[in-house]
């Protein structure tokens, strides 16, 4: 399995700790299994401002972007599954 494209990895560096942790967990558990469509959706998600990104992942806001909507439960599952330092 290939490591996530490093550029995507750097774009997961965010302005809020919550997003840093959610996205980092997903890079470790889940991102590799995505097909191209899923990766494109992830790139779109990374384009969102931090507040909106967090709201979407925490389900406080919904998106009409079906690709991103499919990612949300995967990201949450990754965050809950990650073993932390």
């Amino acid at each position: 399995m290939s490591l996530p494209d490093t550029q995507t990895r750097w774009r997961c560096r965010r302005g809020m700790l919550e997003n840093d942790l959610l996205l980092r967990a997903f890079l470790e558990y889940g991102y590799d299994e995505l097909d191209q469509e899923g990766r494109d959706a992830f790139d779109r998600l990374l384009g969102y401002p931090d507040n909106l990104l967090l709201d979407l992942v925490l389900g406080r806001q919904q998106t009409v972007d079906a690709g991103i909507a499919r990612l949300v439960p995967l990201i949450r599952a990754a965050a809950a599954a990650r073993t932390w330092e």
Partner: protein, 587 residues
């Protein structure tokens, strides 16, 4: 290899609120300005600020800048510089109205004025009734400020080097700062950015502690750059902690949870706050609760596999109350721990929130260092603002809402001084190749191959050492052991290697250089904390429990060379009003 070189009038390292506010002032005055940021500007940490920004607008309750000044001096436990505090509190209304003009959508009162919230530590009439001083754009003030300033900068044609990592300052033999050496994270190519003036606005260093509320990017890069350029760091021992962060993750569980009746327990299930604060119990002040948690863990009554946290129990409140009154807390706990507080208690530990210390500056944002008899001599061409700087308006403790104010007021003030400097200094000084080579060598050092420890475990160890030895439980013995361990770590970091030597988007190299910066900031923090033999504001020592104005009403200065400590007086004289003399701090 030819090295790319670019020249600007003013260079700003950091695109958070401080950097962008300064850049805008400069671009609007038609200076040639460049901003370097390791993350895309709108992903700077300022985006996380929710609470708001303080200014005595008197829109909701009577207020005055002078009362705001009193609260800030008192909040600082009298360690804040009163000239800078006066300047900041007077400038606050203007800075907030400017933001409004830049497009920040502040929440409003019915009649249209900016709405203001009441926060802790705000008073009318010098310590009497509660004041309401915090202006907010709903719960996303930082986001609104950052995005508005970024848009304004694009319009003003500020040049951005997005996703460039600044390595070190360039300094010539006469001590003038000439810009920075950076590298493009995308291509891996180094670049020399020459500038007549350089402003460091790289934010805080919260990542030196295992449990903290800061974004991962808060690694104190600018502070470490200053240290390596021979500038000492001021008051680094003052670090604000919040008692209940999610253990191992860092984000806050607000006081609301305990306000609703939640309580802390140890591994025996004991409500231990009853022992530490028989009356206030779980609602005792932040430092008391923080210390109690740390003591429980130190004495072996911590919970979990590593016995490294305590638990916050909400279960007895019942599902209804939790879902109605604490939905945000439940959500965070479920997302980051997979723990539903209706069914199980939440693991918590004190979390580092804000660095009061930083690069010493005067109220014009000039970086100042002790030279012979003067404690504050400007370093020509070098400025600092924001959480990276120590101007010092927060002294030993920052008030909520004063940090966004600090970054805006002093970002702007630094820019104004830079404009004056540029009038008198029209030419670039000759580049100092030796200094450039030194920075390039620091970059090339990570190309080394062969055996060596990896970066991530070292980072983890560093943060754990800081949490255990320089967190909320501080004694000479505990910290001395921490210093010894950091010295060992410093050597191991010198010998560390990274496996990925590719040029493009090599984030391993960025993380390695951040680790070096964390190391320098951590050492500055613990050595300063060991030096200060008193308790003041956020620095509380178990072996020196009282504030000691006679010996310690002074600022600490830590230098990288020999890890040496020096001290300088507090500026107790404001600009136009009378000084507030130290008093016992009671709220």
């Amino acid at each position: 290899m030819t090295l790319t070189t670019r020249k600007f009038d003013a260079l700003i390292v950091g695109a958070g609120g401080a950097g962008l506010r300064a850049a805008l002032q400069l671009s609007n005055a038609e200076a040639r300005v460049a901003v370097v940021s390791k993350v895309f500007p709108t992903r700077s940490h300022t985006v996380a600020a929710q609470g708001g920004v303080n200014a005595a607008l008197a829109n909701v309750l009577p207020d005055s800048w002078h009362w705001h000044m009193f609260d800030t001096v008192k909040g600082s436990d009298y360690l804040g510089d009163q000239d800078a505090i006066e300047y900041m509190c007077r400038a606050a209304p203007k800075v907030v109205y400017e933001l409004e003009h830049f497009g920040v959508p502040f929440s409003r009162l019915e009649e249209g004025n900016i709405y203001q919230r009441a926060f802790g530590g705000q008073s009318q009439h010098f310590g009497k009734e509660q004041a309401a001083r915090t202006c907010a754009a709903a719960d996303r003030t930082g986001h609104a400020i950052l995005h508005s300033l970024y848009q304004q900068n694009l319009r003003a044609q500020t040049h951005f080097f997005d996703e460039y990592f600044a390595i070190d300052l360039i300094k010539d033999e006469t001590g003038h700062v000439l810009g920075v050496v950076a590298f493009d994270i995308l291509s891996g190519e180094p670049i020399v950015i020459e500038a007549k003036t350089t402003l460091i606005a790289t934010g805080g260093a919260g990542q030196i502690f295992r449990t903290n509320t800061n974004a991962l990017s808060n690694t104190g890069d600018g502070m470490a750059m200053a240290l390596r350029a021979g500038v000492p760091l001021e008051d680094m021992e003052f670090v604000q902690f919040h008692p209940t962060g999610i253990a191992g993750r860092g984000m806050l569980i607000t006081e609301g949870a305990r306000g609703e009746g939640g309580f802390l327990i140890n591994d025996q299930g004991e409500r231990f706050m009853e022992r530490y604060a028989p009356n206030a119990k779980d609602l005792a002040s932040r430092d008391v609760v923080s210390r109690a948690i740390a003591i429980e863990v130190r004495e072996g009554r911590g919970c979990g596999r590593n016995k490294d946290h305590t638990l916050l129990d909400l279960r007895h409140l019942g599902a209804d109350t939790i879902m109605k009154k604490l939905p945000g807390i439940r959500e965070v706990s479920m997302t980051f721990l997979g723990v539903d507080p209706i069914e199980a208690p939440i693991p918590v530990f004190p979390t580092c929130h804000y660095s009061m210390g930083g690069i010493p500056t005067n109220r014009d944002g000039q970086v100042v260092v002790p030279v012979k008899d003067t404690p504050e001599d400007p370093v020509p061409g070098l400025y600092a603002a924001g959480e990276a700087a120590c101007v010092s308006v927060h002294g030993a403790n920052r008030l909520g809402g004063n940090s966004l104010l600090d970054i805006l007021v002093f970002g702007r003030a630094a820019a104004n001084h830079i404009l004056d400097f540029l009038k008198d200094n029209r030419q670039h000084r000759p580049l100092h190749q030796e200094s450039v080579d030194q920075a390039l060598a620091r970059l090339a050092r990570w190309d080394r191959k062969g055996e060596g420890e990896a970066v991530e475990p070292l980072r983890r160890e560093l943060r754990k050492v800081m949490e255990d030895h320089c967190g909320v439980f501080r004694t000479a013995e505990v910290m001395q052991e921490g210093v010894t361990r950091l010295h060992e770590l410093r050597e191991r970091i010198d010998n560390a290697v990274i496996r990925d030597h590719s040029r493009t988007f090599n984030t391993a190299r960025v993380e390695a250089m951040e680790l070096e910066n964390l190391m320098d900031c951590a050492m500055a923090t613990i050595v300063s904390a060991l030096g200060r033999e008193e308790s003041r504001g956020a620095h509380s020592r178990m072996d020196f429990t009282d504030r000691d104005d006679e010996r310690w009403l002074r600022h600490s200065l830590y230098s990288l060379q020999d890890d040496a400590m020096d001290y300088k007086p507090v500026r107790t004289q404001p600009v136009t009003v009378e000084s507030f003399p130290p008093k016992e701090r009671v709220y």
